[in-house]
Amino acid sequence: METLIIILAGILVTVSTYLMLSKNLIRIILGMSLLTHASHLLLMAMGGFKGNVPIIGDQAGEFIDALPQALILTSIVISFGVTSFILVLAYRNYETFKIDNLDKLWGIKDE
């Protein structure tokens, strides 16, 4: 299971890298959001997938590793903030210059 998830994460990383290397701003943002998913899956895989839900209850047995879960929870919320910021940046950029192609954007003087 862990190996499968790692390979899945690797494929997601590949796709996101490819998207981020393109010229289009929207594709870059999509690539970033994919990269977030890939790193979350990697973190989960590092913790392992054996054990119970990490809520202390009546059932006995080991818990699944709770630390990656806490880290990922933090990361999800932060990446939401960052994604929305970059989205709005792209939006404002398009509104100002009417260009969403990075190659054409390059070299335009600041306001």
Binding site: M1, Y18, R27, L34, F49, G57, Q69
Partner: protein, 800 residues
Amino acid sequence: MITVSYAIFFPFIVAALIPILYKRLSKLHIGWIVMTVPALLFIYLARYIPHITNGKTVTNTVYWIPSYDLNLTTHLDGLSLIFGLIITGIGTLVVLYSIYYLSKEESLKHFYIYLLLFMGGMLGVVFVDHMMLFYLFWEVTSISSFLLIAFWYQRKGSRYGAKKALLITISGGLAMLIGFLMIHASTGTFSIREVIVNVGIFREHQLFIPAMIMILLGAFTKSAQFPFHIWLPSAMEAPTPISAYLHSATMVKAGIYLVARFSPIFGGDLVWFWLVSGIGLLTLLWGAFCAIRQTDLKALLAYSTVSQLGLIMSLFGVGSISFNQELISAALYTQAIFAGLFHLINHSTFKGALFMVVGIVDYQLGTRDIRRLGGLMSFMPISFTVALIGSFSMAGLPPFNGFLSKEMFFTAMLKISELDLFSLDTWGILFPVIAWIASVFTFVYSLIIVIKTFLGEQSESLDKPTHEAPKGMLVAPVILALFVVGIFFFPNIVGDYLIYPAMLSIFSSVFAGEHLTHTISAWHGFNTELFMTIGIVILGTVIFLLLRYFKYVYKLFPEKWSFDALFHHGLEGLERISNKITSFYMTGNLKHYLSYIYLSIVIFIGGNLVYRGAFTFNFTDDANIHLFSWFLVAVIIVAAVMLIFVKKRLPAILLNGFIGYSVSMFYVLFRAPDLALTQIVVETASTALFLLCFYFLSEWKQDKKAFPFSIKNLIISVSVGVTVVLVALSVKSEKLFETISTYYENALELAGSRNIVNTILGDFRAFDTMLEVVVLCIAGLGVYSLVKIRKRKGAENLED
């Protein structure tokens, strides 16, 4: 009882409240509220005087991060009390003065917030014991000084001066930080007092001298010592209350505080002695020499401050010799430090008064140029009197406090010249000689301030009417002038109640109390010191009368080779070179930057893995694979690959959302209910956001060449993906350390909560969560300001 640790934060708290108060109380000059802060703190600190005079100290610890040994320990002793009283006392007067100096049209909100930030930082510097916190507060003062110098940021000179001050003081601060780290490396503690206790071991360590030099760099840059003094005259672009407060009374004395604090550690060493006293004397001479040729009154005062700081510094250098173990009559030389502390107090009083008078002249006449000023005595009698008292005190004339400390300074210099240690038997004679010459110059520029401004013919080129300043503006300088006279007549009150306990706090590790009392008296009989003063008056008057001819001396020092010009050209050159280097690889194209990052991931991480043969692969420990997982994996892969080939925006956004939801399905499979819930809701919100934004964005072009397939990009991305997989597999297969997660499984016992994930977030690692919330809030505000705030106000009247 409120402890000192909390008192430090009082200015910060008020600073945070100012924007609200400013809005609510728009009729009141906000300065009146700000003034209560230093006034209350002054009263609070003054109540400790009887306690401290008895030789006691007050130590207080607030636990911050005990596991890192990082606690806010404040230590109130004689030395910090003197500085604390100066900071709050002069602070009260300066704020009072600024209320009349700055009209309500100015951006008072910013001014007082920066001022309070500075006050808090400065109090922190003098009270904390932990070196890292010391550094933190030290930089707070540098940054608030930067902001205050650039208060009139529309002016080019202000911005230049602020940048210069910041560059020099921050570089010095960085050197000091390195010095602190060296001390930590050799003694294992960040507490200054603990280092003093273990000073014997530290002296043997090989890092002793490097740490000393690094810390001195911090002190010299902050206290504007030669050749770092150039930032202080440029900093005079600040509003005058700031020049009076930061750049003469308090911040520039932080370096002296640093030297005084570390004297018990480094004092008695040859290098320390020569550096501190040598640089001090050089600064004294050079500052006084440069002051004479200034035509701007504030620049003159700035150079005189530089020179006076050098004087105090040299006294601390000379006094440090009494820490030398081999010296039998060591206790004799404590007098120098006594004189240094005394002059420090005196300088704050007379220089503060002088700055305020210059501010009044500037405020009334609109110029500070001495070539245009003159004959103001009859119109501004009170200002004239204050200026006279301040200048004559600075010149070292009776009956003002400057006379007393200058006499003590001469005594210290004469005494050191007779010593035969550290090759003083050959070079020692230079000490009194340089001191005397510099004092002649001091006398000359003190005369210039009074005579050229207030006496003589009134210049006709001034169009503003001349009359005395508003009464409120005069209160603060008059109070300071009264202190100047008062201290002359009752010097031993200051000596016994303030300086003696400060001496105790510096020397307590070496001497008993009885060696540290020195009586200050105005009359010692006809001794060398008195003759030196008489000589100064005679020669100084001669030079002043022949000033026109004396100015030819300055031709020997061409403008082109001044330290200012060197700094300026050096900085410009540095900027040019670094621009050249940077523009070589910073092309401004995002794709290039990302390629650098990806290639370094592949080369350094992947290459390292291969080079060390660290790749291991072991899946005996893997959990079983659900059938559903296979399905999910396949779906996600298909969706991801489709994302590359999609030619329209809407499908792309939906595919992205689809992948997000599938990942949240995985969280369900992985028994992470909190994650699954959060992921679903976040995915919904961000897809909505995408759609909202994309609705207004351009449609992707329909032609086939819109996203050309790039084999180069494919190679980069595949190699990154392979690297990630290899690294992750190796990490998974070989666990080098015991997992730390088992600790968190005691959530119920430790934190009384059953949900382990939430306990980690809210309790065990709440610090992360707190900062995360801050990041989220900043992102929100960023979005808001990106969209809402279109144009900067005030941008049009900016000077280039």
